[in-house]
Symmetry: C2
Subunit: 145 residues, 2 copies
């Protein structure tokens, strides 16, 4: 059993964020001792799930919806499955998008490394595609595809 401060540290979250999740009903029935929250393993797993779904881009109110389905029991299994299937597609697309973003950033790193060496970006800005290193051209093309 952990206090709110310990859990905050564990997850690198603020105490106020944890209280906010609790207030919003994401953490159902956190135990109390003299009014002080005591988080158990189940709460920790819930917070882990919340953090994961947040990273997936889900909003708090949709995460709450999911957690409410969990509480509702077996009648909502299909809804939960459908939610994860949707999220899977979305996250796969996000990773693909991020890969393109990364390629543009890598291209720009090369661009500015070259420009810094030259003291100006005149030359690299006007460089023809056939004069670029092959792997750099590939990054650029992929990022714009």
């Amino acid at each position: 059993m952990w206090t709110i401060g310990e859990v905050a540290q564990k997850f690198n979250l603020s105490i106020s964020a944890l209280r906010y999740y609790d207030k919003e009903g994401l953490l159902s029935d956190v135990k109390r001792e003299n009014g002080i929250r005591k988080f158990d393993d189940k709460d920790i797993e819930t917070i882990f799930m919340i953090e994961c779904l947040k990273k997936a881009g889900m909003q708090i109110k949709d995460i709450k919806q999911f957690l409410d389905w969990v509480k509702e029991g077996n009648t909502t299994l299909d809804k939960r499955l459908k939610m994860f299937e949707n999220q899977k597609v979305k996250v796969e697309k996000q990773i693909q998008d991020m890969q393109k973003v990364l390629d543009l950033i890598k291209y720009k790193c090369w661009y500015y490394e070259t420009a810094v060496k030259d003291g100006s970006d005149e030359k690299v800005k006007n460089m023809k595609e056939e004069d670029m290193p092959a792997e750099i051209l590939k990054l650029y093309k992929n990022s714009h595809s």
Copy 2:
């Protein structure tokens, strides 16, 4: 040369978002005809860059900072390089994080597929690690690592 409506469609952005970027100074000196904005190739490339850096997780004010450096000229080449190097590290970490998120989601897809088949998640919830399919266990472990 494109009107604001055409550009909005091109990038799947709202017209008001484009006006907001202009107002915030991200698009320097967009041409006007009778007060109506006419976006040229340079503006399009800027908007492409804005969209990319937004996806990378940068805030509008930091994107503006970068665009201001571009306007300032060659004295800021090193700052721009440093910015992209930092972003590269961040985006690489984001992709790694998203991969873990995806693994947890894939695990949960398996979990709920199994639960839906059984009509209950009792069995899958209590399943021992050695009874899980190897690739599912791998997903689970990676997502929690």
